[in-house]
Symmetry: C2
């Protein structure tokens, strides 16, 4: 187990339709977002404003939800210039799947 998991934090983060939605969109970012030029969405991520648009909630709510997902370890953030790009933490998600299968 490389990533330190707080199962309750993870399950809480996943207990909300919008956050589940975001995680799902980020699985296939090309389908749901337009890339910034020079940014590979799959490698770097998607910025908060694009997620805000797709989510149809305020920037404030989107930012909070992303930070809940980040604290749970489900996504990672990278700031480039004025944008912060979020992408799935596939390794952590795989480990949670394994945890569920083996420990639950």
């Amino acid at each position: 187990m490389i990533i330190c998991m707080e199962p309750i934090e993870i399950f809480k983060a996943l207990s909300n339709e919008s956050r589940l939605q975001i995680l799902h969109w980020l699985k296939d970012p090309e389908k749901h977002f337009t890339p910034h030029e020079g940014i590979d969405m799959r490698k770097i991520g998607v910025c908060v404003c694009q997620i805000t648009d797709t989510l149809k909630m305020t920037q404030s709510t989107t930012s909070q939800y992303l930070s809940i997902l980040q604290r749970a370890g489900l996504v990672t953030a990278e700031r480039i210039g004025k944008y912060t790009y979020f992408k799935r933490n596939e390794e952590a998600i795989r480990e949670i799947g394994a945890f569920f299968t083996n420990e639950m």
Copy 2:
């Protein structure tokens, strides 16, 4: 997918220390409960009053938590005489693990 899953309901059910605890105890019932005579805890389950004792919360809370776990499909209940025996739904739990690994 045999069992109909509501991921949000499942994650909500798992977002609570006591409910996670119950699910964990039921994995190895011999370790945490005393069997009723003639009842194989692994096959039939554990009654609400024993779970109440181990949980150290009221009967009312325990009963509600079990019913949340049941609605999420994580446990099943069987009434025998005046007792209701709850046990893990191993198949559903396995499917949730698979769902997590494949769909999340």
